[in-house]
């Protein structure tokens, strides 16, 4: 019997290719599974800063926080390090501040001058901010919310500044919700 070398080679190539495709697909989905399971561990977390406001609470796993801030009339109150942002991972992560929600349109809002939330790196350089100024009874947002890279094991801080109008009433509150978005490589 005469062996056709050309056909044999083609057959072997096809066989090897199909095997590789099968194993490559398996590896691909395996990688996706890994990133899925990693969601139980937050690479970037909050921790209380040296200016942690009294009455504030840290959520489970240090992934959420509830801050009780004050504002005084006709003056700027600065919490230089209200919160720390720690990258616990072994790789750099991309983070950014993002406005989620702020109370608006009520007469209470008109008692404030501004609320400012700043992301400060370990060299005291500002890396992003959310600045809520007040026009009548509405907060107007200006912001810098591009993703920035925080190195592995690095600790940054969140600085908060508040100010109320000179004739502001007391015991008036507004609520806002801010997110710190994280993109972490698995």
């Amino acid at each position: 019997m005469k062996t056709n070398i050309k056909k044999s080679l083609k057959f072997i190539a096809l066989l090897v290719t199909s095997l590789l495709i099968a194993s490559a697909s398996a590896t691909y989905y395996y990688s996706l599974n890994i990133s899925g399971t990693l969601t139980t561990f937050a690479a970037v977390i909050f921790s209380p800063g040296s200016d942690w406001p009294s009455g504030s609470t840290m959520g489970a796993g240090n992934t959420s926080v509830s801050l009780a801030l004050k504002a005084y009339p006709n003056t700027t109150l600065t919490y230089t390090q209200a919160l720390k942002v720690k990258n616990m991972g072994s790789k750099a992560a991309q983070i950014r501040l993002r406005n989620v929600n702020i109370e608006n349109g009520t007469s209470d809002v008109g008692n404030f001058t501004f609320l400012k939330i700043l992301l400060i790196d370990s060299s005291s350089v500002m890396k992003g901010y959310l600045n809520y100024t007040v026009s009548q009874n509405n907060f107007l947002l200006s912001s810098s919310t591009d993703y920035v890279s925080i190195s592995a094991s690095d600790t940054w801080s969140i600085r908060i500044e508040t100010a109320a109008k000179a004739n502001a009433g007391t015991d008036i509150s507004v609520s806002l919700q801010v997110a710190l978005d994280v993109q972490a490589e698995s």
Binding site: S31, G59, V65, V100
Partner: protein, 185 residues
């Protein structure tokens, strides 16, 4: 013996390239985690823990958190403002010059805190600053202190020294600023 011709070499190279890509492609696939940390903030307007009160020649503005002090030439050791701590928290005080005008006519202008101990915060001698801020001054709970000024000039006119009264929570970096303007005629 059969020699491999050029066409077959080309096929082998193509096959090898295909195998290389297939081997390496799965390894460059990587995943990223996307999540967000949430921060709920409630901000409440509160009564100022420290307030300013007039002693001599001072105007106090709304909510007692800013003031304008007018003193004439020849003022000597005059208590112009009282600072009152209304809380059970201790604070630390510091006066910081942030702007001025026409200070060259001041032969001497010294501004300090006192309540027992004195702490010089701002000093101008012959039109030049020898001090634009001072050491932090301890301000115990439910206490008061004074801002005192001595000033003399060598000509007519009005000089302004614009300052912040920095009120710092001890052992933290939490602080707030009151604006105090000194007007020396």
């Amino acid at each position: 013996m059969r020699f491999i011709n050029l066409r077959e070499i080309r096929k082998i190279v193509c096959l090898a390239s295909t195998l290389f890509i297939l081997f390496t492609t799965p390894r460059i696939v990587s995943g990223s985690l996307f999540f967000c940390l949430t921060s709920n903030m409630s901000t409440t307007v509160s009564s100022p823990p420290v307030i300013l009160q007039n002693i001599t020649n001072s105007f106090i503005y709304a909510n007692y958190t800013s003031a304008r002090v007018i003193v004439p030439n020849g003022t000597n050791n005059s208590d112009v403002l009282q600072i009152l701590n209304q809380t059970n928290d201790p604070w630390e005080l510091q006066l910081i010059k942030y702007s001025d005008s026409n200070v060259s006519r001041l032969t001497n202008c010294t501004i300090w805190f006192h309540n027992g101990d004195a702490s010089i915060q701002i000093k101008v001698v012959n039109g030049l600053y020898s001090q634009t801020s001072g050491d932090f001054y301890n301000f115990p709970t439910n206490m008061y202190g004074y801002i005192t000024i001595t000033s003399s000039t060598n000509s007519s006119g009005t000089s302004y020294i614009y300052t912040y009264l920095k009120i710092l929570k001890p052992n933290t970096s939490t602080y707030f600023l009151y604006t105090i303007t000194f007007e020396i005629t």
